[in-house]
Homo-oligomer: 632 residues x 2
């Protein structure tokens, strides 16, 4: 395996950062097969080209062109944050190029970057909505709702991705000028407003990391500290909606609009780990917040944000499966924050949550075909559900949205998903989420072969090593009851259940082979009894995958709402789990013993991975299945 | 008892209408004591005077004054439907005057009517938003969202109330001119748009009933038939939101925005019963709709509309208690429609639902003090709920709202609630909802003495009678298992369980005394097993009253989310029910045997009537209590 030149991924803390683990660069984390390779292929071949067409058809590119021409016009199309869709899509192009360069991708990135650059004002400001609809006057007039910094944040993220991927530097220069403009315009001696939608915080820290310019880090911290004082109000919403009710250092839970809360939390984490001792207060608050989120506000699918009203986190244990919101972007924000916390804490529960989100509530956001998207990831659709507006899950996935934040967000995340598999530190390599991949840092490199998430055997072969003794850490997921590990066919020391990782420290040699076996019996999961909405019901899980029942798999005439788990059903571990390579792009289905409450008849039905539902037409579906019980 | 002159109530079908039952006029239905008398006293002494101040402070009256002055100004205050708050409040004043005349009420009505009249344009048009913000230009430009006909509908309802109450006729003349303007402007040869928010249909039919002018009935039918063809779109909402997805004759459920759907359904019923044979198609559809609503979309409290998103009905069995919406106005719309269906069908289930709504989901909309209101009537508040926007139940009731539809809607309904107690027909009197009252029609009159809803004894004394044989019908609520009835101390024929009414036919004499006994043991109610959100939980009911647990009544240190019904608890019929005259304005509390899941300790707590929750400070509350069960 050749030593590639270093290609940074989406999160690259500085060496001074208070992080325990170091991410692998994208040239050091390559998916080589299996589920994620299939998703990346569809993302590259379908989603990204389709995204280019959608951005043209929806008017995003016209808006840029009008801004570039200096046109003041009421012909601006779409909501105020149209620019951000372009930038997230550009970021996907960049990570895709980093993954596997191509002239087409380089050309797409350069051309679109040129269109962006042409729209930028001389002083660095750039926002097509303000420039087109009011000739650039009254910048930052309604920052609670205008999304000007939000759009700039996504621009900066795309530019950082393009820079790390080694692409044309037009966008990078635009981003630097944007950031310099912000440094001049905002802060104690300038504007003291904050954007109603965070993301600028993460973006500025990454720009600092890539450029070394500390002014960007200081401005990010300014934005973090300016938040939480109740200054944001728009759309009839209170400050809580904008994560603006309590300062970051005092936060004890996640609340308000979920995507805003999660992007902000990720940005706070970025700022905090780069601020050394100054960061401690933030990180202590984040520990409380994250624990509270995981304990009381996270769906089984990893979905985040239960309320349609305000696309918001609900109260503790308010996790209704039927009216779940679980925006696709919130799943992505959840991975972003949780990954940053993993780097800081080395806490296996962060990897557990990241895996849960990635394989379930995130992946459900896209069709297997790659050209349809869920904005809302419900856990239940009922018989008789009447399709309503475009976001209603009963409508199935949509091809694009008026508010199109989710589709390009999926694209950039799938393109860069390899960044979330493993880390390194001076002591060795840590494997967190399993996939067929080549992973490594410097001279310590491994190759992973696995059928994950369908089979729990993970074979890790040492591809390269230095002469030192180092530790290969393999995560044992919280769902794995009795993991075993062998090194070169010899049983190795048992899993370190304290930390959730098997840690193997030795002088590794090329071709050394570690086999981790994670048994994957079918599990029937009960929720915390305080989650009222799923009392008396169970969910089917296997390995990291949550399952769902779809109407299409029930016998004819059986109504979904009459289905319960058969009384006296056998041990779930004995329920058949069947690998079906030609079904839903290759999945394992689970055969569940059920009963029709209305007729009293028992039957079985195959549950499918939750992420793969609604790929054969939309219809009634449920993750939580009632227990047959006299108490129902 | 003197024979009062006839005073029509809110719903007065013509003699030609296809209704089985005839409402009593408001002078023929007088509440004389008990719970409703107390609510009416507070409504008269606190809510209505307070409403006058709020309408002044919120700008509703300034908007009228600006319109009267012909001012074009950006100083218009409040949402586009500010006028309707004034009209609903005027309607309350009128019904209050009908109930008990006073110079102050007559003066209030006359003065405010004058302010309304002054704002009317020469051709009858009246809408302060359009007149003030754009000088009256572009009338009906955005009828999906402008609420112009909605405001006019409430104006007409207030005018009809004023006319029936014998008040100053200024408003009546305004209403006639409004309606004549509408007849000229809308219809097959005019504008074909419909208002995004129904109410004009009900209003025009009542105006027809009061005036005898059939053009108003025909226009109401035009508006009914014009709806359901998918022409309404606003706020990014689809036609379903506006009850505009399917025509009234094809409807099979209630859907979309709950208040819109219920007001429209009531209007359809009004039109249909007045159209003779032409009305059958509508009424057949309404039967399906109403049944489907009662079976699948109605909360235990009678609350209607489960979704915050779009303030809408959810899918069948989507009835989450924690994120219930149950707008106070929807409870009122539910009573309005259900009462009209009772008149048409003579179906006891309509009276059952009206009673359920009135004593629970409607009454909860107001504080006992009469000056605070719930917009949203949740069935559960959790520990740790963070107050958010003004509608969040965790904030407790509010003093008024930016969108202030609910408070004056409560006022007009409390003022006229006696209209919903009883009916007559040529064969006699029918008593549907019990209260201390004097009730009658023509020479057949009774006096009702009862402690309802706290005690199930209802004593009906004949106050006057004609010389014919007639039938006194007494409803046996669906919750009453073993009603008994005695006439002049002799056991009478048993309840006619077919129709849900005890029907006593005889030659009545003054002072004849009927005693109906409805046993009221405490009941523990289970929901339909298809209502996922309350599986494994039970609700406490007694008589027509639904109970709730409030945190303030739990032992110190017990967290609401850890509370369950004690395993092996005694028969609910044996749980103590205690009359407490000095508590919450005189209620019965129920002592419930409970268990703390966390500590395993058993304890008891007093549940309070749901409608009386949040009168001792807001906090955690729940109607559905988990069963202690190994399956939770």
């Amino acid at each position: 395996m050749a030593q590639p030149s270093y290609v940074g991924g989406p999160v690259q803390p500085t060496t001074a950062a208070s992080t325990s683990l170091i991410p692998l660069g994208l040239a050091d984390a390559c998916i080589t097969g299996g589920l994620w390779a299939a998703r990346q292929r569809v993302n590259r071949e379908v989603s990204i080209p389709n995204g280019a067409r959608r951005l043209r058809d929806a008017g995003n590119l016209d808006d840029l062109a009008m801004a570039a021409a200096g046109t003041e016009s009421q012909d601006y199309r779409g909501p105020v944050f149209m620019d951000s869709d372009v930038y997230k899509w550009l970021e996907a192009v960049a990570w895709e190029y980093a993954r596997e360069p191509s002239d087409e991708l380089a050309e797409l990135f350069a051309t679109t970057s040129g269109a962006v650059a042409a729209a930028q004002k001389n002083d660095g400001y750039l926002n097509t909505y303000v420039q087109v609809t009011r000739g650039g006057r009254e910048r930052y007039r309604d920052l609670s709702s205008s999304h000007e910094l939000y759009c700039m944040g996504h621009l900066i993220q795309a530019a950082v991705a393009g820079r790390r991927a080694g692409l044309d530097d037009t966008l990078w220069k635009v981003a630097i000028r944007v950031a310099d403009h912000l440094v001049a315009a905002f802060g104690p001696d300038g504007l003291r407003d904050i954007d109603g939608h965070p993301v600028i915080e993460m973006a500025l820290v990454e720009l600092y990391r890539e450029s070394g310019d500390e002014r960007y880090l200081r401005l990010a911290q300014w934005f973090v500290d300016a938040r939480g004082h109740g200054t944001n109000r728009a759309y009839g919403r209170e400050p809580i909606y904008f994560s603006d009710r309590v300062p970051a250092v005092e936060a004890s839970s996640v609340e308000g609009h979920a995507v805003r809360a999660l992007y902000f939390a990720a940005g706070v984490c970025d700022v905090a780990v780069e601020r050394g001792r100054d960061g401690k207060g933030y990180l202590d608050a984040q520990a409380r917040q994250w624990e509270h989120m995981v304990d009381t506000k996270t769906y089984l699918t990893g979905g985040l944000g239960s309320r349609w009203d305000g696309e918001a986190f609900g109260d503790p244990y308010e996790l209704p499966p039927d009216v779940a919101y679980c925006e696709t972007c919130a799943a992505i924000g959840g991975v972003q924050w949780t990954w940053r916390r993993l780097l800081h804490t080395d806490d296996v529960r962060c990897a557990d949550l990241a895996e849960r989100i990635l394989y379930n509530g995130f992946l459900s956001g896209t069709s297997l075909s790659g050209n349809e998207f869920f904005y809302v990831n419900t856990l239940q659709v009922r018989t008789g559900a009447v399709p309503d507006d475009h976001r209603q899950p009963a409508n199935g996935r949509g091809k694009w949205f008026h508010v199109a934040c989710c589709p390009p967000n999926v694209m950039r995340t799938v393109s860069s998903v390899a960044a979330y598999l493993a880390t390194h530190d001076p002591d060795g390599l840590q494997l967190h989420v399993y996939a067929n991949a080549e992973l490594g840092a410097d001279r310590r490199r491994v190759s992973v072969q696995t059928d994950y998430p369908w089979h729990g055997r993970v074979t890790v072969t040492v591809a390269a090593t230095d002469q030192t003794e180092w530790t290969l850490s393999l995560r044992v997921p919280s769902w794995a009851e009795s993991a075993t590990v062998r090194v070169n066919d010899e049983p190795a020391e048992p899993a370190d259940r304290q930390t959730g990782y098997v840690r193997l420290r030795r002088h590794w040699r090329p071709a050394d082979r570690v086999v981790l076996d994670l048994p994957m019996p079918v599990r029937l999961t009960a929720a915390d009894p305080r989650v009222d909405a799923v009392r008396g019901a169970r969910a089917v899980e296997r390995g990291p995958v949550v399952y769902a029942l779809e109407q299409v798999d029930l016998p004819e005439g059986v109504v979904m709402e009459d289905v319960e788990i058969a009384a006296g059903a056998s041990d779930p571990a004995d329920w058949p789990a069947t690998r079906r390579p030609d079904f839903l792009d290759d999945v394992v289905t689970v055969t569940v013993p059920l009963r029709d409450r209305r007729t009293g008849l028992n039957f079985t039905a195959d549950a499918v991975p939750y992420f793969a539902w609604d790929n054969r037409g939309v219809g009634p579906m449920r993750v939580w299945i009632p227990l047959a019980s006299p108490t129902t």
